[in-house]
């Protein structure tokens, strides 16, 4: 038996492998998740139900993404894990260390080096290539949940492509605020068929889902759903002819650390002076830019 405290002692990795199969979850479960993932890829934007397993982190803390990562990862893979663009936040570090422990794969902070990237609520700034896989952690996979609480009804709406309620929601938003007020979780139409929740990524990242070179996989552990956007798929944010989709406006602002003005910025309040400062949300890209500048 492996004691709980032993999980935090890396010298015991060998004994962990003796007790657990490679990548923690058992082979039967992995096979199921891979099968459901293939189905998700075959029907872009469709939510495939899967038997979400118990993970050593609580549901709602990235277990959907984690199960996808664990069932996909092989010994040759290089893993990167980010949380809101940061490699160093608690959630990202925990998940990265866990996968490292149960697979012994290489990890990296460099987006261009990684083969599998698990992410919470961001797409890395650097271009994602063919062959890389981006795994999203999804809290609420159902884009229609805000307009319809019943799961049976939302499934019917998807089946019949009955999306007028979603459009009506956007119409009412425009009437009330003169603009669509959704920030993160902006609904998108995938391959002209399914409305999909892109997970709570900012609007900034939404255009990067369209005709990408990379495979995007979405896992919702608590809600037990897997869905996907295969490479080179049409992904269009919902918009009206006279109210076009637009991304966050950072004009006139730049990262105080690396100086870039073409990235998604986080707003910070400096405690001492009380002023607003902006930094890149993608920390590894920010650091890379700084290093390149220093050279």
């Amino acid at each position: 038996m492996v004691k709980f405290s032993d999980w935090f002692d890396s010298s015991l990795n060998a004994s962990i492998h003796a007790v657990y199969s490679f990548a923690f979850i058992d082979e039967g479960a992995k096979r199921e998740i891979r099968r459901k993932t293939l189905k998700a890829v075959a029907i872009p934007g469709y939510q495939v139900p899967f038997g979400s397993r118990d993970m050593p982190v609580a549901r709602g803390w990235g277990t959907g993404g984690l199960q996808l990562t664990l069932s996909l990862i092989g010994t040759d893979d290089i893993l990167k894990v980010i949380d809101q663009g940061s490699d160093e936040s608690v959630n990202a570090v925990n998940i990265r260390q866990f996968v490292e422990r149960v697979t012994s794969v290489q990890t990296t902070e460099d987006t261009t080096r990684a083969t599998v990237i698990q992410t919470r609520h961001r797409i890395p700034e650097e271009h994602l290539k063919d062959g890389q896989i981006l795994v999203f952690q999804v809290p609420i996979p159902e884009p229609l949940r805000d307009v319809e609480p019943s799961e049976r009804e939302t499934r019917r709406m998807h089946a019949e492509a009955d999306y007028s309620r979603m459009w009506l929601f956007l119409y009412e938003d425009i009437v009330r605020y003169r603009e669509i007020s959704i920030g993160a979780r902006y609904p998108v139409m995938v391959n002209g068929r399914y409305i999909m929740d892109p997970s709570p990524i900012p609007r900034w990242d939404v255009p990067r889902l369209h005709q990408a070179d990379t495979l995007y996989l979405f896992g919702a552990g608590r809600e037990k759903r897997i869905y996907a956007i295969p490479p080179h798929t049409r992904v269009e944010p919902l918009e009206f002819e006279d109210h076009r989709f637009r991304v966050e406006d950072f004009s006139g602002r730049r990262c105080t650390r690396c100086g870039r003005d073409d990235t998604y910025l986080d707003e910070l309040i400096d405690d001492a002076s009380g002023t607003r400062v902006y930094t890149c949300s993608d920390t590894s890209y920010c650091a890379k830019t700084e290093r390149e500048k220093a050279v």
């Binding site: 007028s164 009506l168 119409y171 009412e172 009437v175 009330r176 006279d242």
Partner: protein
């Protein structure tokens, strides 16, 4: 005058609640004054109803509570699934592409039914909360139907909503208010705007004036009659109120215990009723 093709044909329309048995027919219907089968306890909501509506015509269905008149309209609007019978609809515009002629529309998939309903029909229910979303603005309620038919321009939809609200005498300033805060008559007028937004070929009115006070009733009826004449839309009116039937319709079916007991020109039915039930109905009307 050459008779045009009917826009709506319903044959042997049947709806029952319960298993049904061979003896149902012997226990239910007007002559037994019951719509529940004594053998299997099945309730026959409507039994073998035949109906035709021609272009620009207004047909009425009159009957007491529980006679099955609302069931007929709900079956035609696909709100309920029929247990028997067939319905043929003359599809217009976009619906022509996917509804083959001479197709029993009751056999279409729910997806096709919804498409057909969106492009061909408009309905006004007795209770506004059935036809309207009370937490969505009046303009939004009208826009919903337009969105269903593929409109994607907010400005155009607002122009169309404003036009419809003007026509139904709802102040345009209240377009962005919630129907929850409207009076009953006004809610009913918003419902009518919504039903007319997609220029339906067939308008279904289910007890539209029931529950409104008499002066408001009169205004709503005036409005319906005016719109009906302006738009030339074929209309099916269901009401228990002979006054409404007399005012709006040219042809009438009288229903009792799920069956049609008498039908004919409205004047004829009301002035010279043949069936004992119709005679009772006409003689009980307040004058």
């Amino acid at each position: 005058m050459i008779m045009s093709r009917p826009i709506l044909i319903a044959n042997h329309l049947t709806k029952r609640y319960g298993p049904g048995c061979p003896r149902c027919r012997d226990h239910t219907g007007a002559q037994h004054n019951s719509n529940q089968c004594q053998a299997c306890k099945t309730v026959i909501a409507c039994d073998n109803v035949n109906l035709r509506v021609f272009p620009r015509e207004v047909v009425g269905i009159v009957g007491e509570s529980g006679s099955g008149k609302s069931t007929v309209i709900k079956l035609l609007h696909f709100d309920l699934d029929a247990d028997g019978g067939e319905v043929f609809l003359e599809a217009n515009g976009k619906a022509k592409e996917f509804i083959p002629a001479e197709k029993n529309v009751l056999e279409l998939s729910t997806f096709r039914k919804r498409q057909l309903r969106n492009s061909v029909m408009g309905i006004v229910y007795q209770h506004p909360h059935l036809g309207l979303r009370m937490n969505i603005s009046a303009g939004g309620n009208i826009a919903e139907r337009l969105l269903m038919s593929g409109w994607r321009h907010v400005g155009d939809m607002r122009d169309r909503s404003a036009l419809l609200l003007t026509r139904t005498e709802v102040p345009v300033e209240r377009m962005d208010d919630l129907p929850r805060n409207f009076s009953g008559g006004m809610q009913q007028r918003v419902q009518i705007s919504k039903a007319l937004s997609n220029e339906p070929a067939l308008l279904l009115l289910d007890e539209v004036t029931t529950g409104l006070d008499v002066s408001v009733q009169a205004r709503v009826l005036d409005l319906i009659r005016r719109l009906q004449q302006e738009l030339d839309v074929a209309t099916l009116v269901v009401s228990h109120d002979l006054g409404v039937i007399r005012m709006l319709t040219t042809r009438t079916l009288v229903m009792k215990n799920g069956q049609v007991v008498e039908s004919g020109l409205t004047d004829q039915v009301l002035e010279d009723p043949q069936h004992p039930y119709t005679q009772l109905l006409v003689s009980s009307a307040l004058h």
